[in-house]
Amino acid sequence: MSEPLIRLENVTKSYPGTEAPAVGNLTLDVYAGEVLVLVGPSGCGKSTTLRLINRLIEPTGGRIFLKGEDVTDIDSSQLRRKIGYVIQQVGLFPHRTIAENIATVPKLLGWDKATTTARVDEMLELVSMDPAVYRDRYPKELSGGQAQRVGVARALAADPDVLLMDEPFGAIDPITRDRLQNEFLRLQQDLKKTIVFVTHDIDEAIKMGNRIAILREGSEIAQIDTPEVILSDPADEFVENFLGSGAILKGLTLKKVRDIDLHDIPALEMPVMRDEALRVLEASPEKTAVLLDKDHKPLRWISEASLNRTTQPIEKSGKPITIDLQPEDTLQDALGVMLQSSVGMAVVVDRSGKYLGCCSIESLASLIISDGGGTPSS
C-alpha cells in the first residue's frame, strides 16, 4: 500500500497514578482519502487516540507522523491548524457569528479578508446552509443539526487534508443524524479528505467507514479491516460480541437500492379506465400495480382485490404510497420501508420523483443469500 498520511508508531499515553495506560503501544496507519472509524466500547481509549493525533493529548511515548513528517515535537498549535477537528458538542464560539466561527482558522493562518469571506460562503453552501440567511446569525439561533453543519464547515474552512471527528453526530436526533451522515458521505466523495472518525455505534461505523478499527481496552486494535470483512469474518469473540447479533442486517447498510434487481410492477398512469386497470392487474403476477400521476410520480398501490371491492374511482382505491426510495438509499432503509408498506414492497423513484420500479423482500433475500453466505452463523 501507499505511504500512510497519518502514522502512529508505538504511541503510548499513560497517566501518572494509573497502572494500565489509556493507550498502550498503538501503531496505526491512516491512508490518504480514507475514512477510518475507531469504534469500541466506552473507555477503550478511542477518543484519547484521536486527541493524540492533533496532540490535544500529548503522548508519553512513541512517534506521530503526518505526511511522513515527524510531528511529535513540533508546535502543537501550528499542527492543529492543519487538522480539522469536529467534536460531539460542536463547541461553536457563542459570542461570534456563524461567519466568524467558520473564519477562525483562516484568520489564524492570516488569510486576507476577501478570500476568507468568499471561503465562508463557500463552506456554508457546502453544508447546505444559505450564506445570506446564516452568515450573520449567532450559534444560539441554530438547531443541533445546523450547529454541527457549521462545526463541519468550520473544520473544513482552511482546507485541511486531515479531519478528526469525535462522535460528530452523537448528540443529534436519529432522523437528523441519518440525514447528516448521508450528506457527509456525499461530501466526502468529492472532498476525499483523510478522516479519522470516532464512534461507539457499530452501525454508524459500518455506514461511515472505508476501514474500521475495533478497539478494546487500552486502545488495543482487536481488528482493523473493511466493514465487509469485519462483518463476514470477525477476528475473535470480542469483535463478534461487539458486532452483536444480526451482522447480516448490519451489512444491509453497505449495499444500495441500486444493487438489487428492481421488480417490474406494472404502472398505471392517470387518467386510467377501470377496465384497462383490471386488464393490467390480471396480467401482473403479483396482482398489484402502481398508480402514477401524470408526472410519473407514484400515488397508490392498486390490487385486483381492492379494485373489485369498491365502486369508488380508481384514484381512491388501494393503499396510498407514502414513502419511496431512491437508488442511493441503503438496503437497510429499503427493508424498513418494505416492512411498513402494506404490500411488502417499496417503490423506487429517481431524483425527480419519477417511478423506476419496486423492490421486494424476495429480491433483498436473494441478494443476501447470494453474497452473504460467508457470514458465520454462530
Binding site: N54, L56, S77, Q78, L79, R80, R81, K82, Y85, I87, Q88, Q89, V90, G91, L92, F93, P94, H95, R96, T97, T104, V105, L108, Y138, P139, K140, G151, R154, A155, L164
Partner: protein, 218 residues
C-alpha cells in the same frame, strides 16, 4: 414642603462646595474601580489553574470586605498619612472581592467544549484567553464590577473621616451640628448626591455592557 424649600436653598447656595465634593467622590469611584478591575481580573486569570492560590486570594479579599469600614480607613494612616491615600487604599481593598469572585466564576462557567474546539483549531493558550475566555466571561465579570461600583460610591462617604474629602463631608458636618439649622439639609445633600452618583455610574456601566457584550451571548 418647608424642608424641601430650605434644602433647595442650601443646595443652590453651595454650588462650589458641591462641585468639589462631587469631584473628589467621582475620582475615588473611577480610579478605584479602574485599578481594582485590572488587578482583580489579572489575579483571577493568574490563579485559575491553581486551586490553592485561588482559594487563598478569595479568602484574603473576603477578609478585606468583612473588616469594619471605619477600621480599614484608619489603619493605613500611620503608613501613608491622612487624606486621599488611606481612603484610596481602603476602597481599593473593598472592591476586590466582587470582581475577583466573578472573574473566577465567569471563567469557570465557560462551556468546556468551546475551549476544546478552540484549542483543537490551533489557538494558542493566549489566543484562547483573549479571544474566547475573556469575552465569554465578560458579562459575569462586568456584573462584579457593578457590585463593586455601588459599594465604592457608598463607602467613599467615609473618606471624610480621614480627611479624604468627598460627599461624606456634607454628611459629617451635618451630623456634627445636628439640631442646628442647615444640619439635616447638609446630611440630605450628601446622601442624595451619593445616590445620584450611583445611578449615573450604573447607567454608564449599563451602556458599557451593551457596547461590549456580543449579541450572541446577551
Amino acid at each position: 414642603m418647608d424642608f424641601l424649600e430650605r434644602w433647595w436653598t442650601f443646595v443652590s447656595t453651595r454650588g462650589d462646595q458641591i462641585q468639589s465634593a462631587l469631584g473628589e467622590h467621582t475620582v475615588y469611584v473611577v480610579t478605584v474601580l479602574g485599578l481594582a478591575s485590572v488587578f482583580s481580573i489579572s489575579l483571577g486569570i493568574a490563579t485559575r489553574r491553581n486551586v490553592l492560590a485561588r482559594e487563598l486570594s478569595l479568602a484574603v479579599t473576603s477578609v478585606f470586605l468583612t473588616l469594619p469600614s471605619l477600621a480599614l480607613f484608619t489603619i493605613f494612616i500611620p503608613l501613608v498619612g491622612l487624606g486621599f491615600a488611606p481612603s484610596f487604599i481602603a476602597l481599593f481593598l473593598y472592591s476586590l472581592l466582587p470582581i475577583l469572585r466573578n472573574t473566577i466564576t465567569g471563567l469557570d462557567g465557560i462551556d468546556q467544549s468551546v475551549l476544546e474546539s478552540a484549542k483543537g483549531m490551533g489557538l494558542t493558550p493566549r489566543q484562547v484567553l483573549v479571544t474566547v475566555e475573556l469575552p465569554l466571561a465578560w458579562p459575569v465579570i462586568l456584573a462584579g464590577i457593578r457590585v463593586s461600583s455601588m459599594l465604592i460610591v457608598g463607602i467613599a462617604a467615609i473618606a471624610t473621616l480621614v480627611a479624604g474629602g468627598g460627599l461624606g463631608d456634607f454628611i459629617k458636618s451635618g451630623l456634627a451640628r445636628l439640631p442646628l439649622p442647615n444640619s439635616l439639609e447638609s446630611i440630605w445633600t450628601g446622601t442624595i448626591l451619593c445616590l445620584l452618583l450611583a445611578l449615573v455610574v450604573d447607567l454608564i456601566l449599563q451602556v458599557l455592557k451593551r457596547a461590549t457584550i456580543s449579541k450572541g451571548i446577551r
